[in-house]
């Protein structure tokens, strides 16, 4: 594919993600941070996020499966997930975390499990989309182009 085309696709895709609320301004900040000294910055950070998220989601699943659910611990995990998702701009994941925390306060196990499902779902969605985006980036670079800056 031509670089131009790739770049256009990249921009369009990114914009759609913003429009649909999957990503927010914070992701833009990450892209701004990417430069010659750190050409793979976004990729690096997003990968870190995936790794960390999977760990947290596992912990959460385990915690909610316990006989005696430790809500404090769950809240701590969710809080952390909220922090990391907001840091990369995964807006919908973050919102799901906020909702989750509210239910944690209520100490309702079933509700929490549902929240966890919701969070997982959002996470998987954004993960897919980010992977697609990163792939586009790689293609652009491979084709000799530069990653275009987003306006949003």
């Amino acid at each position: 594919m031509e670089v131009d085309q790739l770049q256009r696709s990249f921009l369009e895709y990114t914009n759609s993600l913003f429009r649909e609320g999957f990503l927010d301004g914070q992701f833009g900040q990450l892209q701004l941070l990417q430069d010659e000294s750190n050409p793979e910055f976004v990729f690096e950070v997003v990968s870190l996020f995936f790794e960390d998220s999977e760990r947290i989601l596992n912990d959460l699943t385990l915690a909610l499966d316990q006989q005696n659910v430790d809500f404090k611990k769950i809240d701590a995990h969710v809080h952390q997930f909220k922090g990391s998702s907001s840091s990369i701009g995964a807006q919908r994941v973050r919102n799901a975390c906020i909702a989750f925390r509210n239910f944690c306060e209520g100490q309702n196990v079933e509700a929490c499990r549902r929240c966890l499902q919701q969070v997982k779902q959002e996470y998987l969605l954004v993960k897919t989309k980010l992977e697609a985006l990163l792939r586009l980036e790689q293609q652009i670079l491979a084709a000799g182009g530069v990653i275009p800056m987003l306006d949003s």
């Binding site: 941070l33 750190n38 809080h79 922090g83 840091s87």
Partner: protein, 632 residues
């Protein structure tokens, strides 16, 4: 502040690169966060700001790094929620040990968490996700801190020095400036100082000299020296000579003296808001365990500059008093407490006396808690303390609620014990004997009251940084008290030392209902007066307390300070009074300007006597005591 004017000094940042004009480039930042994603992002952002970044995912590791490289960093950014150590705890440690500006951050933007940051002494609080713009300006915190230190020093020199020495000004800042720049730095500093001097008053007390931590022993030496000289005659130069501590400068002493004076003043003026220092919340004198906060902690906190000006006073007291008795350590600055007893003055007296007696090297800020008091006396005090409620003494308009509470606290416990304990236990943990575990915990609640310091925690490590926090006794802030007893530096608020009175009270016996007055004490109501507050009541009650002597003016607590004074003033038994007098550490002389009409107090105290003390609920929430409710 014009960055350029400090560029010379910035050149002296330890980075040693000698590039002065590039500030804030090269700022050495340590960022601590257990979230790897955030950590990486922050690192990149900070690098983009041209800062030198070190990242760390564990608080313990961060502390080690800081300890191993003292002066290796200019600012620390830390997350609040971390698995191995609470961010606020780390904040306290840093403030105490290294006195670096610390910026807290969290995805949690709830008001109380942010407030916690404030009270613990964080110089800023960032909400995640953190943006570049927020990080770009963090250098201002470094500059501000340095500036304050300079000013402080300068201020100290000009303001506090009786002898008016000024020369030494820059000497302590040498650290910051390379020799090449020293001249410039000094001159610019001077100019700055002169300009700002007027404003320094409030700040100086809070600003501490670079890196001088007033340990209990050091403070004790200081107090001993001051007493020897007599509070009126105690000038930094002479104090320094008497102390004979290598490496200590006149400025350090001057600044500490200033704080000490404020502390004493606060003690007397606070009126024993019930608890004297610590917990006496304005409305409900909760005896809060503040007392535990040993003076050490306060000192430490104070010195770290964590304490905000108001808390400073409180803290000073605490720090100064290092509550030997732990009990009174809490110097809760109940500012609001109007009701705090005016005992302050009496309290102070006690403290003094105690100190001497207690010998705890620590400075017993606990005023009013005469160690020597034997139970009888205490009992007497106790009774009077009870009447505290009523007594509130004219001195302060406060509702003395806290006072009564304070008085109550007196427990017979051997003050010495307490003091000893205090010595050992940083903060409130005080004296088991005391019964009241001053607990840093207790205090926190109490203390927090006023200045909004949530955590007045009386930390175990003297990190009482904010005096203002003191006293919120009334509320059961205890809850707020962070798990760790350590006082967050920020919280400052309680001046543990103030407990002196409480100690007195404590000695008192359980008659004092106060004991239970849990002014925020988590600790059991025991008779141990939580040290702080107790004192006041009992003291007051004592007939025969020669308030005149005390001088402790029992002013209405101006603010946060929980004035232990209540206890002090009250004529704790004549005996006590005498004792106190004898011991009069010298504070009294100058300290309590407002003497409350002791006579009034006395009568007030004597009147109700018994009724006064409404046994405070076990959890000291002074609520039990509301002075208003005291059946006088």
């Amino acid at each position: 502040m014009d960055p350029m004017s400090i560029s010379t000094s910035s050149a002296s940042w330890k980075s040693g690169d000698g590039v002065s004009d590039q500030f804030p480039a090269g700022l050495r930042v340590l960022v601590v966060d257990d979230d790897p994603t955030c950590l990486r992002i922050l690192e990149k952002m900070l690098r983009n700001c041209l800062y030198e970044v070190t990242k760390c995912s564990r608080a313990e590791v961060a502390l080690k790094l800081l300890r191993d490289n003292k002066d290796g960093f200019d600012v620390v950014i830390s997350d609040v929620h971390m698995p191995d150590m609470d961010g606020f705890k780390l904040l306290e440690h840093i403030g105490l040990e290294m006195d670096l500006p610390v910026i807290m951050m969290s995805a949690d933007d709830s008001k109380n968490v942010v407030m916690k940051g404030v009270t613990h002494g964080a110089c800023d609080y960032l909400i995640k996700p953190v943006r570049m713009e927020a990080l770009k300006n963090i250098w201002q915190h470094v500059v501000r801190k340095k500036k304050h230190e300079w000013k402080d020093k300068d201020y100290e020199q000009s303001g506090s020095v009786e002898d008016g020495e000024r020369q030494q000004k820059p000497s302590e800042d040498v650290d910051y400036s390379s020799s090449a720049n020293e001249g410039n730095w000094k001159s610019s500093k001077k100019r700055k100082d002169e300009e700002d001097e007027g404003d320094e008053r409030d700040d100086t007390s809070t600003l501490k000299k670079p890196r001088v931590v007033w340990s209990v022993e050091l403070h004790q030496q200081f107090v001993t020296a001051v007493n020897q000289l007599g509070i009126d005659k105690a000038v930094p130069k002479k104090i320094l000579e008497l102390m004979n501590v290598p490496g200590l400068t006149r400025e350090n002493v001057a600044s500490h003296l200033q704080k000490y004076r404020l502390y004493l003043k606060r003690l007397s003026g606070q009126h024993h808001n019930g608890l004297g220092n610590s917990f006496m919340g304005p409305t409900d004198p909760t005896f809060g365990p503040m007392s535990s906060l040993n003076g050490l902690e306060l000192q430490a906190l104070t010195s770290t500059g964590q304490l905000p000006p108001q808390s400073l006073a409180t803290i000073q007291a605490a720090a100064l008093g290092r509550v030997a008795n732990n009990k009174s350590a809490v110097s809760v600055p109940l500012v609001d407490q109007r009701n705090i007893f005016s005992f302050e003055s009496p309290k102070i007296r006690f403290v003094e006396g105690q100190q001497q007696h207690n010998n705890n090297k620590q400075v017993n800020l606990l005023h009013g808690i005469p160690t020597n008091m034997d139970s009888k006396q205490l009992a007497a005090l106790h009774q009077s303390a009870q009447s505290f409620g009523n007594i509130n003494m004219p001195i302060h308009s406060q509702s003395t609620q806290s006072n009564s509470v304070m008085g109550q606290m007196v427990q017979p416990q051997s003050r010495a014990q307490i003091l000893n304990e205090i010595n050992g236990s940083h903060a409130l943990n005080i004296p088991s004997s005391v019964g009241q575990p001053v607990f840093s915990q207790a205090i926190p609640s109490a203390v927090l009251g006023r200045n909004g310091i949530d955590n007045v925690r009386v930390q175990t490590h003297a990190s009482v940084s904010q005096p203002s926090a003191l006293v919120d006794f009334s509320r059961s802030q205890r809850a707020e008290f962070p798990g760790n007893n350590t006082f967050s530096k920020g919280s400052g608020g309680f001046i543990p030392n103030y407990d002196v009175f409480s100690d007195l009270n404590q000695n008192r016996t359980d008659d004092w209902g106060l004991q239970s007055v849990g002014s925020a004490f988590d600790a059991p109501q025991h008779s141990n007066l939580q040290g702080r507050l107790d004192v006041a009541p009992s003291v007051l009650v004592q007939p025969g307390f020669s308030s005149d002597q005390r001088r402790g003016h029992v002013r209405t607590p101006s603010g946060n300070k929980v004035a232990f004074s209540a206890a002090d003033g009250l004529g704790n038994n004549t005996n006590l009074g005498q004792q106190i007098k004898a011991e009069d550490m010298g504070f009294q002389n100058g300290l309590f300007p407002d003497q409350f009409g002791q006579d009034d107090l006395m009568s007030a105290l004597l009147k109700p006597q018994q009724e006064g003390l409404v046994p405070v609920e076990s959890d000291f929430g002074f609520d039990g005591y509301h002075l208003d409710n005291l059946p006088v």
